[in-house]
Symmetry: C2
Subunit: 227 residues, 2 copies
DNA sequence: CATCGTTCGCGAACAGTGTTCCCAAAGGTG
DNA sequence: CACCTTTGGGAACACTGTTCGCGAACGATG
């Protein structure tokens, strides 16, 4: 409708060359400042004014590097995806995919704002495309059709983000807010299975990393077939 | 830290009885207005002022029913979860879970703002707890331990939301924004598997509903074991 | 070296946002 | 009829994303 040229993603909107006053900063610099701010104070703190302040400039200047705040968020997510350090494809596809998941989890725990971004705005930038290419390479010998492989990629990203978000909600106090009502509901009776489940031995034997890997492995084999 | 009593979720914060001037509206009424607004204009349109306007009151009045906007969002999500109409547990657990997934998908397609809420703020209200109880009942005979059953519930919710979000992004034009850069990356060479995947016959034989069900079935059997 | 075309930096302003304060009004209860 | 508690909500505060328009800075051109 009203989005004429704006349908073009950030990464394709390159700045013109040579002519005119040269920019004092780069898109990468702005992105880095935003990431640093988000790491320190969370996604909500990433406002145009605060990012600009972090760079020592005015808020309006950022619009020379980015068309809107959402573009900045896309840039942040894709920039973190540059942190994957993936081995050359080869060996069983499941181990290859698990390695991707493992690293994704670490990146998301390191940047606590990433899961929310991955879940709500799954945009593919240059590094995201590289990651997809890697996954497809790992699955090159796999007999599944293209659609299913793409689906596996999406499911892996989504699930990694969701599980990471869950882990993070345990660390920060966010988790107790949910348990509060749950406990109340159980105490009120009328939820027999739930009550039984919560009173049952809630043993957590494995480390979070192990649990994550186990879950991801089960789901990927379910989606793509056994080893 | 600074959240003393505010750690209590909305559903436990009931209003006092009898004494004082009676409220002109109910929490359910406010929630319904917010849902109607979101259905019509999206989640971003759900501001305190606009919800209040929809009810013909002032914005500040809403804080008599809700402690913050986030509470309102939680109420909206849980209210929609009242829309599940689930058969009594019985029969194979997989068919029971698939029915839950099917209905969840329909609810999310009907309320296009729900997936985002489910993904980023997975809070359990009364109806959410009822749903969890139902899932545990369906899985009552299943040998898996409690933690895994809870995990299956979470994975089901997350995945349903993510897949619904994906479906919705195809309907609205949002999808092309992603494909734009993907096409560019492929055209630039250097992504052989991706290029092969995209040029391959992209046949979409099944309906979205069928694809959704197939994916969910595969993942649930992967997580919980074969039928 | 001056001019020109273009781009950059960014203060100011606009239209919103969530939330808090405070006070007037309303209603049951004693 | 007071009293006490609670509701309704205008006004204000501290922000937000974004646009406008200007002056200044630069590379290329004459």
């Amino acid at each position: 409708m009203e989005a004429g040229e704006q349908a073009i993603p950030v990464w394709l909107r390159e700045r013109r060359t040579g002519v005119g006053r040269p920019a004092e900063r780069s898109r990468a610099e702005v992105t880095a400042a935003a990431i640093a701010l988000a790491d320190r104070e969370g996604l909500a703190a990433v406002s145009m004014r605060r990012v600009a302040a972090q760079l020592g400039t005015g808020a309006a200047s950022l619009y020379r590097y980015v068309a809107a705040r959402d573009d900045l968020l896309d840039l942040m997510a894709d920039e973190v995806a540059a942190g994957y350090d993936l081995p050359a494809p080869g060996g069983p596809w499941l181990t290859g995919l698990l390695e991707v998941g493992r690293q994704g989890r670490v990146l998301m725990l390191r940047h606590r704002w990433l899961p929310e971004l991955v879940l709500t705005r799954p945009a593919l930038g240059p590094h995201g495309v590289d990651l997809l290419e890697h996954v497809l390479a790992v699955l090159a010998e796999h007999p599944a059709d293209t659609t299913r492989k793409m689906e596996a990629f999406a499911v892996m990203n989504t699930l990694t983000a969701a599980l990471a978000l869950n882990e993070l909600s345990i660390t920060s106090g966010t988790r107790h807010r949910q348990g509060a009502y749950l406990a109340h509901a159980v105490a009120a009776g009328r939820h027999s299975h739930l009550a039984a489940a919560l009173t049952g031995a809630s043993l957590m034997p494995a480390t979070p990393a192990e649990r994550f890997e186990d879950t991801l492995a089960r789901i990927l084999t379910g989606l793509l077939g056994a080893a």
